[in-house]
């Protein structure tokens, strides 16, 4: 009863005085704000949060959000329309508030209100000049004072605009030259607003703002827009100020020197903030704009803004800030993600060792560059990667590699850089910088690195070897060719076969042992050992379904494996039982698969190239039993055998003797190139080098042996390869080392015990061992070599096994005949 009565009352009241419309409410709050400022006393020290201003602004915002919910079909409600028409110049007022910072705190409030308007509404009508101009003005005026207390709010507004541009690329036009008004207009407050809000602006004329270092043209071409949007979005809003609609202007594709991209320029200015959160926001904004698919925007970023240069300059600056006395071994353990660093840096305990923060700062920026390059438009990526090479690698880092005082640390940092980057553009530029382009035969930088490996400074050797490890791991087709394949591509290492049919075992084992064999007990053991190894290989092969005698190729792989496993005589082996073959096979399998995937797009031959690599040379097929297969396939549109690099085979290993005839005409002495020269030199020197150096050296070689390139494969993994006497090969070098160890180790007192203990230590991975002075380098190198041989055998086996799996059964049999 009572409620019905009150309903009646309400209805009567509504007739007499209907409830205010939303627009009336909106106007009410607007007037309240103006009233406040008309009566504002400059001496009033009240903070803005203690006034009603935030309340009124919030209400106005809420009214716009509410009205938008009821609007149909993309039309604009009366409150928003009032802003677009500038009958209520809310945004200009916000700009005046921000400029005056009256009452204190007004600037932050104006910025957050502007941001909220853009983020809370689905249609903030940024196209309209009455919306974007005040926003521009606000951003530029705030930007006049670097490191202002409102940086966070400023960058937040910028980021929000980036977000809007990301969704409607045409909006980028409002931040390009023709739409950015001249300096004096941007830095002043319109007169009508000065009357409405009569407070003096605190903004003074700019001292030195890079944004205005380029004078804008006096009469901007009003009807030209730089970004073409493809679709006509003029009708996106019901705004009557369509002639100001930025995304509908006619197009312009040629940039003047004076053309600017204000959005990016503003973002760049926040990269120098001391507040990591602000920097992070600016980074996000740059990434959002750079990842737009529009070519025009990408061109703007590269041609009309110093974005790429600024980003790389910052990287170089962070690089230079790394203290010279950082421990190089600390570099490799860092794992930095750019996006998380801003938060971590707030933590004062965020320092693990000397130089940690500087290194982290550098690598997080590198990660940002790398991520940006992966995400951004290809035009920007290629410009950024070129700038990276010029201004960072060549401009900042290169000289350090030859500076003896810094080379170790510089090498460690650069190796880590290459290791962590992931963007194809960046990896390409980085690799090309290292190995050179065009036909320069000895690229100076590569030569410098090779020389660094060969110094007496073991630390430098170690770091440079690590660098080479990464260079190969991150190898591009070009860089692997330059470093590794250039010399082996012509098969110049092949030569007439040595006197045929000598007993394999005699050839492989040291002759002195062969002589002793008949006399002493050790010889009996050696024989038993060899039988044992043979049995093991047979077991492994049988386990994989490769029984000797079943296929002729299986006997050959048996011999290859045998060569590696019997390289060292039993007497000095630390692990004569050799129980961990399975582990090596498993590991080789995993890594080989990685390489097959990584090189799947490389244009590598499936079969070894002879002296003639051209398609016209068919004579090389003549001597092959499988020639018929190739010729048949030559008439088919897709020659799987040749195109698929995975289909390389180990045929050479198996039939090396038939093939030597074709390359024996190459009389010139084989030059293995600076890289292999260095590798073999270090390898031969294993007994006199530190354990860590040998570990990384053998790791590089095993990576190379895994590469699915037929020439490299036979050069490294075929112990029976017929070569000229002077031609160095991996196997010959290993034999040399084995010979030296076989001679020198038995001279040590109690050598068996030393071998046993050293093995135990090395296997225990006890860090205290590194500091322990009681090293025996000679024995350590023996153990590295022993394990390395197992690894090489496993690699040869896994690659052979893979070849068998790749071949069709009927074909496979034929190929290995």
């Amino acid at each position: 009863m009572l409620s019905r009565f009150s309903d009646v009352l309400q209805t009567a009241a509504d007739v007499l005085a209907p409830p205010a419309t939303r627009l009336e409410d909106f106007e009410y709050h607007w007037k309240m704000i103006l009233n406040f400022y008309q009566n504002y006393d400059e001496n009033n020290k009240l903070h803005v949060e203690e006034t009603r201003i935030p309340h009124h602004l919030h209400q106005m915002l809420q009214l716009i959000v509410d009205e938008e919910k009821e609007q149909q079909g993309g039309t604009v409600g009366p409150c928003m329309e009032a802003i677009v028409q500038r009958s209520i110049c809310l945004l200009d007022a916000l700009c005046a508030l921000a400029a005056a910072e009256r009452p204190p705190g007004a600037r932050a409030l104006a910025l957050t209100t502007g941001t909220a308007l853009l983020r809370r509404t689905r249609q903030p009508c940024v196209n309209s000049a009455h919306v974007y101009r005040p926003l521009q003005r606000m951003l530029i005026q705030c930007n006049e004072n670097p490191a202002s207390p409102t940086e966070k709010e400023e960058v937040e507004l910028l980021l929000t605009l980036c977000g809007l541009v990301r969704k409607e690329p045409g909006l980028a036009n409002i931040f390009t030259t023709p739409f950015v008004e001249d300096k004096s207009t941007l830095l002043s407050i319109p007169e009508d607003i000065q009357k409405l809000i009569p407070i003096r602006s605190k903004i003074q004329t700019p001292k030195k703002n890079p944004l205005f270092e380029v004078e804008l043209p006096p009469n901007p071409l009003r009807n030209v827009s730089i970004i073409r949007t493809g679709k006509d979005d003029c009708n996106a809003t019901s705004s009557s100020s369509a002639d100001d609609n930025a995304s509908c202007k006619s197009q312009k594709t040629v940039y003047d020197d004076n053309d600017k991209f204000l959005l990016i320029d503003l973002l760049l200015s926040y990269l120098n903030s001391a507040d990591n959160q602000v920097v992070l926001r600016a980074c996000e904004g740059i990434m959002i704009v750079s990842s737009l698919p529009e070519d025009d925007i990408a061109n703007l970023v590269t041609s009309c803004s110093p974005a790429c240069e600024t980003i790389v300059h910052k990287l170089a600056a962070k690089y230079r800030a790394i203290p010279a006395n950082v421990d190089p071994s600390d570099v490799d353990h860092l794992n930095i993600t750019w996006a998380y660093v801003a938060q971590d840096f707030g933590d004062k305990s965020y320092s693990k060792f000397h130089g940690y923060r500087d290194l982290t700062s550098f690598f997080s920026w590198l990660d940002y560059c790398d991520t940006l390059m992966k995400e951004c438009h290809p035009i920007i990526a290629s410009h950024l990667s070129r700038t990276f090479r010029q201004n960072f690698l060549e401009g900042a880092a290169e000289s350090g590699l030859t500076d003896l005082h810094h080379a170790v640390l510089v090498t460690a940092i650069l190796a880590k850089c290459l290791k962590v980057i992931d963007s194809p553009d960046l990896i390409n530029e980085f690799s090309n910088w290292l190995v050179g382009e065009g036909e320069v035969s000895e690229w100076p930088l590569l030569l410098a690195l090779v020389n660094n490996c060969l110094t007496d400074n073991h630390d430098l050797t170690l770091e440079t070897l690590r660098f080479f490890e990464t260079i190969i791991e991150k190898g591009t087709e070009h860089s692997i060719r330059r470093v590794v394949l250039a010399r082996v591509a012509a098969r110049g290492y092949c030569a007439a076969p040595p006197a045929a049919d000598d007993d394999e075992r005699d050839r492989l084992n040291d002759l002195s042992i062969g002589r002793e064999r008949e006399y002493n007990r050790e010889a009996m053991k050696q024989l038993q050992h060899e039988d044992h190894v043979n049995e093991q290989i047979t077991d492994i092969l049988a386990h994989e379904g490769l029984e000797p005698g079943l296929r002729p190729g299986d006997d050959n792989i048996h011999r290859v494996i045998n060569s590696f496993l019997l390289l060292l005589p039993r007497a000095i082996l630390s692990d004569p039982v050799g129980a961990d073959y399975e582990h090596y096979i498993h590991d080789a399998h995993r890594r080989y698969q990685y390489w097959l995937d990584a090189t799947s797009t490389f244009n590598w031959p499936a079969d070894y190239n002879g002296v003639d690599t051209t398609a016209s040379s068919t004579h090389s097929y003549d001597s092959r039993p499988e020639a018929d297969i190739h010729l048949d396939e030559a008439f088919e549109p897709i020659k799987l055998e040749q195109k698929d690099p995975k289909q390389f085979s180990q045929r050479l290993v198996l039939r090396s003797r038939d093939l030597t005839s074709q390359s024996s005409q190459n009389e010139e002495e084989f030059d293995e190139g600076i890289f292999f020269k260095m590798i073999f030199k270090l390898l031969a020197n294993m007994p006199s080098q530190p354990y860590q150096v040998n570990l990384h050296l053998t790791s590089i070689i095993s990576q190379l042996a895994l590469l699915p390139h037929p020439n490299l494969h036979e050069y490294l993994l075929n112990p029976m390869l017929p070569t000229a006497k002077k031609t160095p090969t991996l196997f010959k070098t290993l034999q040399e080392v084995a010979r030296r160890l076989t001679m020198e180790i038995p001279r040590l007192r109690n050598y068996k015990k030393i071998i046993e203990n050293t093995r135990l230590w090395l296997m225990s991975e006890d860090p205290s061992y590194d500091e322990n002075a009681d090293h025996n380098q000679l024995v350590e190198s023996l153990i590295v070599l022993e394990e390395f041989c197992k690894e090489l055998a496993a690699i040869a086996f896994v690659k052979y096994q893979h070849t068998l799996h790749m071949q069709r059964p009927q074909c496979g049999l034929k190929l290995f005949e």
């Binding site: 809420q62 959000v65 941001t115 909220a116 983020r119 809370r120 980021l159 929000t160 980036c162 977000g163 990301r166 969704k167 926001r281 996000e284 904004g285 990434m287 959002i288 990842s291 600390d330 353990h333 794992n335 930095i336 993600t337 750019w338 996006a339 998380y340 938060q343 305990s349 991520t371 995400e375 951004c376 490890e469 791991e473 582990h583 090596y584 590991d587 890594r591 990685y594 390489w595 354990y691 860590q692 570990l695 053998t698 790791s699 070689i701 095993s702 093995r759 090395l762 296997m763 225990s764 991975e765 860090p767 061992y769 590194d770 153990i783 022993e786 394990e787 390395f788 197992k790 690894e791």
Partner: protein, 214 residues
């Protein structure tokens, strides 16, 4: 404040499913019906206790819109846990889960714990995705599942804490290498003394231990 461990989380899922509201409810224990569109990534943190240990959760709330995916991707790497959120009143947000999951698996470390969350469980009358469907999806992809309401706070604490428990268990099992910050886990200041440089030399296994290309 001292903590034993710090875990980094990300919250992912379509726009409008309530990611920011879940974070606000968890960190501030309040619900804000009007919320600004997230651009880039927002941050929140809170301390919790598991097994008597103080654990600091750092949570990054990502933008759901496709336009900002380039930034979201930067946060996958280096997160220990992820809350993958859909809206039980919007079928399409459930349908997009596979894409989100693929994106996350591709860019994150393989041990990242992913919790599937059906949010807005208070809006039963408008439900479009049955609880069983969420459970089935989680089972199929090896995720933990929960329905939550950022509005009523139902299950919100549990979602964040259970994810942390899962990560904590993985640490106990030795699945996570806690010395590698790329895993999104940090040992608190008082615990860090033990974690010296241990990976000095992969001895013994010869060259095989050196390479490690994958």
């Amino acid at each position: 404040m001292a903590y034993a461990y710090l875990f980094k989380y990300i919250i992912i899922g379509d726009t409008g499913v309530g990611k920011s509201c879940l974070l606000l409810q968890f960190t501030d224990k309040r619900f804000q019906p009007v919320h600004d569109l997230t651009i880039g990534v927002e941050f929140g943190a809170r301390m919790i206790t598991i097994d008597g240990k103080q654990i600091k959760l750092q949570i990054w709330d990502t933008a759901g819109q496709e336009a900002f995916r380039s930034i979201t991707r930067s946060y996958y790497r280096g997160a220990a846990g992820a809350l993958l959120v859909y809206d039980i009143t919007r079928r399409d947000t459930f349908n997009h889960l596979t894409t989100w999951l693929e994106d996350a698996r591709q860019h994150s470390n393989s041990n990242m714990v992913i919790m599937l969350i059906g949010n807005k469980s208070d809006l039963e009358s408008r439900r479009e995705v049955k609880k069983e469907e969420g459970e089935a999806f989680a089972r199929e992809h090896g995720l933990v599942f929960m329905e939550t309401s950022a509005k009523t706070a139902a299950n919100v604490e549990e979602a964040f804490i259970n994810t942390a428990k899962e990560i904590y268990e993985k640490i106990q099992e030795g699945v996570f290498d806690i010395n590698n910050e790329a895993n999104g886990i940090k040992i608190g200041p008082q615990h860090s003394t033990a974690g010296g440089a241990s990976g000095a030399g992969g001895a013994g296994a010869g060259g095989a231990a050196g390479g490690g290309c994958c």
